[in-house]
């Protein structure tokens, strides 16, 4: 049986959402792995870019932060933050953003600010960074999550980044003209959002994961009636991930060393 890490499975599952011509907003970690995998495996004409302003870098080594020097080399353009965010929202472009979060709700709204009271939090996180911005402006957002009940919650402690807001048409009514939560990729499976209600539902469970495990790990009810088992990564896909995307195994290996579920 092929051995692979959560990060590798998640990166490949998310990478499949990217189409040729998409402009992909990448963060660090799995998101970086997914964006690069997408470009090298599924959508060679996609363009990867970063909120820091680096557009389409060669990415011969994997960056450890969005301001890593590795996002500035071999690029089409090195610009700044204003330019980068104006790309995210550009009406001419189809932009897909990869984000991570500490909490998510059923409408794909995200919390990356704090757990507990905002003014006296139990845990303070980094804050919005560009997440609130790309959630407002991108054509679609794919969120990476660790699938745990305390992270998939009925009510966010702080709503940093808007997904489908309160469901239905509520995002548009806020004044946000496009975008919304496209998918959630977790260490257990893939979830999408109902076309009308905008509620999260399960589309795929990863090999070796049960639907029950996912339901138990989700803090709100989810529809699982359309879920199917995901395909395992192919040896070819894993080879590209490990040898081309992350040759130093900074993101693949970190998790490979941990026990497989």
């Amino acid at each position: 049986m092929i051995q692979y890490s959560d990060n590798e499975m998640m990166a490949l599952a998310a990478g499949r959402f990217i189409k040729d011509g998409d402009i992909v907003f990448a963060g660090t970690g799995v998101s970086m792995l997914a964006a690069t995998a997408a470009k090298r495996i599924f959508a060679p004409k996609a363009v990867i870019f970063f909120e820091t302003g680096g557009i389409d870098p060669s990415l011969d080594e994997i960056p450890m932060a969005v301001a890593d020097l590795r996002v500035m080399t071999g690029t089409s353009l090195n610009s700044g933050l204003i330019e980068a965010f104006s790309i995210v929202g550009h009406r001419k472009l189809h932009t897909v953003a990869f984000l991570g979060a500490a909490q998510i709700d059923r409408y794909g709204n995200l919390n990356t600010t704090c757990i507990g009271d905002y003014f006296k939090p139990r845990t303070r996180f980094s804050g919005s960074g560009g997440a609130c911005d790309v959630a407002a402006y991108a054509s679609g957002v794919i969120t990476f999550m660790q699938h745990e009940k305390r992270r998939f919650v009925e009510k966010l402690d702080y709503l940093t980044s808007v997904g489908w807001y309160k469901g239905g048409n509520s995002r548009k009514e806020l004044g946000l003209r496009r975008g919304g939560a496209l998918a959630v990729v977790t260490n257990l499976g893939v979830l999408r959002f109902h076309e009308e209600t905008k509620e999260m539902y399960l589309t795929e469970y990863f090999p070796g994961v049960t639907v029950e495990k996912i339901v138990e790990s989700t803090g709100f009810p989810i529809d699982t009636s359309m879920a199917v088992e995901a395909e395992s990564p192919t040896p070819g896909e894993l080879q590209i991930l490990r040898e081309e995307v992350d040759p130093q195994r900074l993101i693949c290996q970190a998790i490979l060393a941990a026990p497989q579920r």
Partner: protein, 325 residues
């Protein structure tokens, strides 16, 4: 006749730049982004001079932010993001300061903060955006009405308005301009005419500098104006926006500087470890800040072995193959 006689007045050491321009209670903006081009030499000097009650205004920041907060220099913070990428997903001393209610803070997003600097740079009172609609960024204000009366603090966190050019209802968020007392930046080059050239990504550095009353630039080197004026398309700031110029090679260490050196993974890992513990962190400051007499002393402590390891390949821009775990 020397066409550029002014620069001599503005060339100074770190100690003078900080003591003249970075006052207790000042509003301060920092260039760079998370682990890159932080003006660390100036940040350490601010700590060494024990400047107090700083009001920091940041988009997405990392190392300099965390050192300044950890050393107790910061009273008030407007911020989008405090993190060091994989080396500290949330900056540790920032996290502790918020959790312990040691600082007054207010959250914005990265684009929002960038737009606020842009507004300041363009002399505009505000800029409009859609970002923030529906977010708790619009529901929680960190500053009290009393703080809002101070000169450099926005009188409101934001304002809402209906787009007057749209037939339909179209709400936008108006963000107040930022005009910091001081902006500190680290650049690769300053010409001997005072022109600044930043290589690689510029983040919001240029907007932060133009928005400020006073600008301190540290640089890897000072180069002839004949070089810097041979391709002016590449330059970042004209001399008249710059108030203090400090030559500080490796002035961004342990963060990276495109074309010159990579970030220092060993120092960033060490920092995260000590930041988690109050006593260890005090020891870090004693050793790396209070205990060194000059920037040259600091670099000597970093050591030649690491300086050579992080040295950037000048064509590739970073240090290929560097052990970054």
């Amino acid at each position: 006749m020397n066409r550029y006689p002014e620069i001599a007045d503005r060339l100074m050491g770190l100690d003078e730049a900080v003591s003249r321009f970075v006052k207790d209670g000042c509003q301060l903006a920092i260039g760079g982004f998370t682990i890159t081009r932080n003006p660390m030499a100036v940040a350490y000097e601010i700590v060494r001079q024990r400047v107090k009650d700083i009001h920091l205004v940041c988009h997405s920041h990392g190392q300099a932010l965390d050192v300044l907060i950890g050393a107790g220099c910061v009273r008030r913070l407007e911020i989008a993001y405090g993190g060091n990428g994989r080396y500290a997903p949330t900056c540790v001393r920032f996290k502790k300061a918020v959790q312990r209610s040691e600082i007054e803070f207010e959250d914005y997003s990265n684009y929002q903060m960038s737009l606020r600097f842009l507004a300041g740079a363009l002399g505009m009172p505000f800029l409009p955006t859609k970002s923030g609609l529906g977010s708790d960024l619009m529901n929680y204000e960190g500053f009290s009405p009393d703080i809002r009366k101070e000169a450099k603090v926005a009188s409101r966190k934001y304002a809402m308005m209906d787009n007057p050019f749209s037939e339909e209802r179209d709400e936008v968020v108006l963000l107040p301009a930022l005009t910091p007392d001081v902006t500190i930046l680290h650049a690769q080059y300053v010409g001997d005419d005072g022109t600044v050239r930043i290589k690689g990504l510029t983040f919001a550095d240029i907007e932060q500098a133009k928005a400020a009353d006073t600008v301190i630039i540290t640089c890897e080197d000072i180069v002839p104006s004949s070089f810097i004026r041979m391709d002016p398309d590449q330059n970042s700031l004209p001399p008249f926006f710059v108030d203090a110029i400090v030559k500080a090679p490796y002035g961004a260490h342990p963060t990276a500087c495109y074309g010159f050196y990579d970030y220092d993974p060993k120092h960033l890992n060490l920092y995260r470890k000590v930041a988690e513990d109050d006593a260890l962190f005090k020891g870090y400051l004693d050793e790396w800040v209070y205990g060194v007499n000059s920037w040259e002393d600091y670099l000597a402590k970093v050591g030649m072995e690491m300086i050579l390891k992080i040295k950037a390949n000048p064509v590739i821009g970073y240090a290929p193959g560097l052990d970054r775990k």
